[in-house]
């Protein structure tokens, strides 16, 4: 697919070939236009009708797909397995949740200007960090700003001291765990165990109305499309080349005169920002944000969405998050006890049997069909003595 000199091409041609653009546009049309129409314009009796529940469920999946895009940028392209993406998702979600809480107004259980949980805790007034979130603009800005600033601080310290690989994964997991405990505290002023919930309106629209939820769904679809294009742009640029080089041999990058710290920090912050946006879109659609989103297990799951779809392919990240979450919804409904077995098996199975994910499946089937030699590994494996022996033999 690589043209001889991509830099001479116009930007849009550098991202995709015209055929690919047509596919992207078709899929985007399907998700952003057709699905809402199937809900609103098609009568419920028709087999093509999508129920309100299905559309909001889809909307939730779309926000997961946005989150997965960031994860793929981080892990698939740069080789940083962060087990803390749930943190940034939740931070974005909490920012939006605070805005939504402040606009419940007098409709809450206690008919008080304060959020219900504060009335319950006998707090006389809003803590200092709450009032700015009355503004939708501020809340949206914070939903991106808080995660990115947090990621910048943490990432700076982590990457500067060359914490990487497994170490970075563990540290990010510990961070997630610590923040989960922190958000469970009532004293933090973010609803403690119950989190923020029971929202009524967003920007003046009732959240009970299907039209509002459809609007949020369409917004998620558009954001997913834009994030995809942005990520595609990053990965196809020279920056993207450096990121892949860091993934495949960080020391060689360093020896070539690049400092990986800035690149890694950039991609970590970008992924955090994307996760924050995803969280902000997730909360009004699902109607609740609580510390369970910060459970380390939730963050690790994001990695498996990407792995299932196919690392290092943005399409794979989107596909994987839709497939795994679809499977989860279906299984937890049908066979409640089986989900953890299946999820565990998916973790093991993908890593062992399908390391390049579902995206590689057609190619592999084709290769198997033609009885070709085994595919080339995506990662350059560390060359071991044993392997060298094999090769020389």
């Amino acid at each position: 697919m690589q043209t001889p000199d991509p830099s001479t091409l116009p930007l849009w041609r550098r991202l995709h070939t015209p055929t690919q653009w047509i596919v992207v546009a078709a899929l985007a049309f399907l998700v952003i236009v057709v699905v809402p129409l199937l809900n609103s314009a098609v009568p419920p009796s028709s087999p093509f009708h999508l129920s309100d529940f299905q559309v909001t469920l889809f909307g939730k999946y779309l926000t997961y797909a946005i989150l997965a895009l960031g994860m793929d940028l981080l892990w698939g392209y740069t080789g940083i397995l962060s087990l803390g993406q749930g943190v940034f998702f939740a931070l974005g979600g909490y920012c939006m949740g605070m805005y939504l809480m402040l606009h419940i107004g007098l409709e809450g259980q206690y008919h008080n200007e304060l959020p219900d949980f504060m009335v319950f805790l006998n707090w006389p007034k809003l803590p200092w960090y709450w009032p700015p979130f009355r503004s939708f603009g501020f809340a949206s800005l914070a939903a991106v700003g808080v995660p990115t600033l947090f990621a910048a601080g943490f990432g700076f310290l982590a990457f500067r001291s060359r914490i990487r690989g497994v170490y970075l994964s563990i540290i990010t997991q510990a961070l997630t765990y610590a923040l989960m405990l922190l958000f469970f505290l009532n004293e933090l002023g973010l609803g403690g165990n119950n989190g923020l919930t029971d929202y009524k309106t967003i920007a003046g629209y009732r959240l009970k109305e299907m039209s509002t939820l459809r609007g949020l769904y369409v917004a998620s679809g558009i954001v997913l499309l834009l994030s995809y294009i942005a990520c595609r742009w990053i990965t196809r640029s020279k920056l993207g080349r450096v990121l892949e080089a860091i993934r495949d041999g960080e020391n060689r990058v360093r020896f070539s005169g690049y400092s990986p710290v800035g690149f890694k920090l950039f991609v970590f912050v970008a992924a955090a920002g994307i996760a924050g946006i995803a969280g902000a879109l997730y909360v009004p659609q699902v109607g609740i944000i609580n510390p369970s989103r910060l459970d380390p297990a939730e963050s690790i799951e994001v990695a498996i969405w990407v792995a299932v779809g196919g690392r290092g392919t943005l399409v794979g990240a989107v596909l994987g998050s839709l497939v795994v979450n679809g499977l989860k919804s279906w299984l937890t409904n049908k066979y409640p006890g089986s989900w953890l077995y299946v999820l565990g098996a998916v973790f093991v199975g993908v890593v062992m049997l399908l390391p390049d994910g579902l995206v590689s499946l057609p190619r592999r089937l084709w290769a198997g069909w033609k009885k070709l030699a085994p595919r080339a590994p995506m990662y350059l494996p560390t060359v071991t003595v044993a392997k060298e022996k094999e090769q020389s033999a």
């Binding site: 001291s161 994964s169 610590a178 020391n251 565990g344 973790f347 093991v348 990662y379 071991t384």
Partner: protein, 556 residues
């Protein structure tokens, strides 16, 4: 052990008193007399005989659970769960003979369930019941169980009856256990605090301060507002201050002991993790589940002993330790041979795969044992504790765990540094390719280290089962801390893991109490956050942990 010896001595001395046996039996039988005078005399006799076997019938008489079955005095248990209630209102209960303390057996040799309405209750008037109370206390003072003696002394101190003083003094003179003697002393002084003479009160306060009698604190504080005599007042204040400083000392000691035992568990968990990480570069996310497997193995062994060998219940723990090692080690070996071996050189993928394993193992345990936590009963030699100061008892459980973890550490040290397999393990840690060239079977070393690491975690789980309940989430509670220990301690040196485990455990607790005193509810959580922040800051200076092996590695 000292308690056991004392019990034996006490039982032996009981067996040495045959002449009083007839008198004792007569007095117990006379408890059932219809004549109040005879009953009173019998109670007095029993009090004089100081035979602790009289405790059961006297307590029963006071509670109204002493019955006559024909001529035989029997006791009906107070616990409802021991009885059976039939639909027609009949109450069936297993009986014990009041005189011998033995259960009454049915024709099949097992305890018989007897209709309570066929028995005749022995009646005691309220005045008579009042007479029983001091006798019971003084009998408890002679009980073979030191804890019973101690609590009897405590009760007498609370009651503040001056006539208890001679009883207590007599018991004290014979008492061999230092801590029981102290409890008796405390009771005496507490009674004396209410004495009419100011000098006696002053002396009592002084003595209470000396022996740190914390039970007397409420009484002394109350006296601060009523006491007239300035000298007594001063003595009271001084004593309260002494007791307070003693209490803060015991508090510190007991907290640090708790930290030590918890950190030693953390050390055992992290040891296995660090070894496997050192050898294979793989973090085993299912390591916490090895802990869980060990704990559930101990639970299964316990159940097996309860079912098959109830008489040798105490031995279950001795069996459970190797069983939990083997269970976890074979699971570890299985994971390594089937999965990790094929993922060699892909640490991040290995991590995800082991996470998948951990999810499945948790669910598996939920399906086998249920989602609820299960309880494991400590064997008798591990229950109770060793009193080292007044008001400070170190439980045998925790002492055992502390010692056990160091035995494990020693074992691992010997294995790594004094055996040929250890030599090979260390070689692989330093340079895998070179070791392979020199003929070390690296695959076998991987499998073995993984099994050992998992097995040590299994034993840690078995030890942990003595500290609390065991549930499917057991591994998850410790694993994040264990990961941090590995990151902090670095790879390849045992000392790093040991220092990091005790460092993280200790700093966590210190920060918890420091933050906790300023912001009460934030303590436990902010200390965790603070430990993480400290760890990240520390890694700025020492990126590969405290005790990394020095060498010219480009890729760690």
């Amino acid at each position: 052990m000292r308690h056991v010896a004392q019990c034996l001595v006490a039982l032996w001395s009981l067996a040495q008193t045959p002449p009083a046996a007839d008198e004792f039996a007569k007095a117990v039988t006379e408890l059932a007399s219809r004549d109040r005078k005879v009953q009173e005399a019998a109670i007095e006799t029993l009090g004089r005989l100081r035979d602790s076997r009289a405790l059961a019938p006297l307590t029963a008489l006071r509670q109204g659970t002493l019955f006559l079955r024909g001529d035989v005095l029997v006791i009906v248990p107070t616990e409802k769960e021991k009885k059976v209630f039939l639909k027609d209102g009949t109450e069936l209960a297993p009986l014990t003979e009041a005189l011998s303390g033995k259960p009454i057996a049915g024709p099949d040799g097992r305890p018989a369930m007897i209709d309570v309405s066929s028995l005749k209750r022995v009646v005691a008037t309220n005045a008579l019941k009042q007479k029983i109370v001091p006798v019971l206390s003084s009998l408890s003072l002679a009980s073979p169980d030191p804890d019973a003696r101690k609590s009897a002394a405590g009760r007498m101190g609370e009651d503040r009856a001056p006539e208890s003083i001679p009883l207590l003094q007599a018991a004290m003179a014979q008492e061999r256990d230092r801590w029981v003697r102290q409890a008796m002393d405390e009771a005496i002084q507490m009674i004396r605090l209410g004495d009419a003479s100011a000098s006696v009160r002053k002396e009592a306060a002084r003595r209470l301060g000396e022996i740190s009698g914390s039970n007397a604190v409420p009484q002394m504080k109350q006296m601060l507002s009523t006491e007239k005599d300035p000298a007594v007042m001063d003595a009271l204040k001084a004593a309260l201050k002494d007791i307070e400083s003693h209490e803060s000392l015991t508090q510190t000691v007991s907290t640090s002991f708790e930290v030590l035992s918890l950190s030693s568990v953390l050390m055992m968990i992290a040891l296995g993790l660090a070894i496997t990480f050192g050898v294979m570069g793989v973090i085993n996310m299912a390591h916490g589940e090895m802990l869980m497997i060990g704990a559930y193995a101990a639970y299964s062994v316990q159940n097996l002993f309860q079912a098959v060998l109830p008489g040798h219940y105490d031995w279950y723990f001795v069996v459970a330790i190797p069983v939990s090692f083997l269970a976890a080690a074979s699971m570890g070996m299985l994971i390594e041979r089937t999965l990790l071996q094929r993922l060699y050189g892909r640490p991040l993928e290995s991590m995800l795969a082991t996470w998948g394993i951990s999810l499945m193992l948790q669910q598996l345990v939920r399906s086998i044992y249920g989602a609820a936590n299960v309880d494991i009963k400590s064997p008798s030699y591990l229950s109770g504790g060793l009193q080292v100061m007044s008001g400070l008892t170190l439980s045998y459980n925790r002492i055992f765990i502390f010692g056990f973890s160091f035995c494990c550490l020693l074992g691992i040290y010997l294995l790594l540094y004094r055996s040929s397999i250890g030599l090979r393990i260390r070689a692989v840690v330093q340079n895998r390719s070179m070791s392979a060239c020199l003929g070390v079977a690296t695959g076998r070393v991987d499998a073995l280290t993984f099994a050992i690491g998992a097995g040590v975690a299994g034993m840690a789980g078995c030890a942990l089962s003595q500290l609390g309940t065991v549930g499917p989430g057991l591994g998850q509670t410790y694993i994040v801390d264990a990961f941090m220990v590995v990151v902090l301690g670095g790879v390849g040196k045992l000392l790093g893991t040991v220092v990091a485990a005790f460092g993280i455990g200790g700093v966590n607790k210190i920060l918890e109490s420091m933050i906790g005193s300023a912001l009460p509810k934030w303590g436990p959580i902010l200390s965790k956050v603070a430990v993480l922040v400290l760890l990240i800051l520390l890694l700025q200076k020492k990126p590969s942990g405290l005790f990394a092996i020095k060498g010219r590695h480009a890729d760690a």
